[in-house]
């Protein structure tokens, strides 16, 4: 079983590269039983979704 530390790396890297089959499987197994890491994944995905919606960047559309 992966440790939370290993999982945190994979969750982040999943945003930047395609994980291998084994990595994805081991990640899924860990996330199923670990609420903290599930929350962590939600947070990482949230930050990734919203960073480019920073108010200064949104001003690009204002003229």
């Amino acid at each position: 079983m992966l440790t939370c530390r290993q999982v945190s790396h994979l969750v982040s890297e999943a945003e930047d590269r395609r994980l291998g089959l084994l990595e994805r499987w081991r990640l899924r197994v860990h996330l199923k039983v670990c609420e903290g890491c599930r929350n962590f994944q939600d947070h990482i995905r949230f930050m990734r979704r919203v960073t480019h919606r920073h108010p200064i960047l949104r001003d690009e559309d204002k003229e």
Binding site: T3, C4, R5, Q6, S8, H9, S12, E13, E15, D16, R17, E35, G36, C37, N39, F40, D42, H43, I44, F46, M47, R48, V50, T51, H52, R53, H54, P55, I56, L57, D59, E60, D61, K62, E63
Partner: protein
């Protein structure tokens, strides 16, 4: 041939304040930000014909500015090839900040739910906290994070621009996200619940 849409000096100067705020967000240094904005406005006035009118003038200027900022990032990365050892922890030291080694690498403090975090986005104060948190990142971590998350570059483009390996790039992004996440949790979401 000059198209009717060719922007003039006063046209581009209208966007100076916005361009400055954009540059400052990335460079965190007022005089550097001033320099790249100046260069951008100059480049735009010198070749107004390059503006096709397909995008807005502001978007076109932002595109020029983005390249200038990446130039600065590249220079900075070259000047400090690996961040000075004092400025960035080893992998083990970094892990110790977040995980408990005695307990099979469990979280020091378990990430808790952020509820409906999207609701924070319209709050001005959220972005102030976000800025404070993201400004704590050390140089190279911040550069990679900005190129990836704000500018939307792919990791292989970032590797190429900064002459780093993909693995190094992933580690920088990992650290950026770990720190930003922890800071947002402590300074925003813990209080917002």
């Amino acid at each position: 041939m000059s198209s009717p849409a060719s922007p003039t000096q006063p046209d581009v100067a209208q966007h100076r304040d916005y361009l400055y705020r954009y540059a400052l967000l990335h460079l965190r240094d007022a005089s550097r930000a001033d320099d790249v904005v100046q260069e951008t406005l100059l480049a735009a006035v010198e070749s107004p014909d390059r503006f096709s009118g397909r995008s807005s003038l502001r978007t076109w200027l932002t595109g020029i500015l983005k390249h200038k900022i990446i130039d600065v990032f590249r220079k900075q990365a070259r000047e400090t090839p690996v961040d000075a050892p004092a400025a960035i922890e080893s992998d083990e030291d970094f892990a110790d900040l977040h995980f408990n080694k005695q307990d099979t690498d469990h979280w020091h403090s378990f990430p808790t739910t952020w509820g409906d975090p999207e609701r924070s986005l319209e709050q001005k104060r959220f972005w102030e906290v976000f800025d404070q948190c993201s400004q704590q990142m050390p140089g190279q971590v911040a550069r990679v994070f900005h190129m990836r998350e704000f500018m939307g570059l792919e990791t292989d483009q970032i590797c190429q621009e900064l002459s780093i390996t993909p693995t190094n790039c992933w580690v920088m992004l990992y650290r950026a996200r770990m720190n930003l996440r922890q800071c947002l949790e402590a300074r925003w979401f813990a209080g917002a619940r």
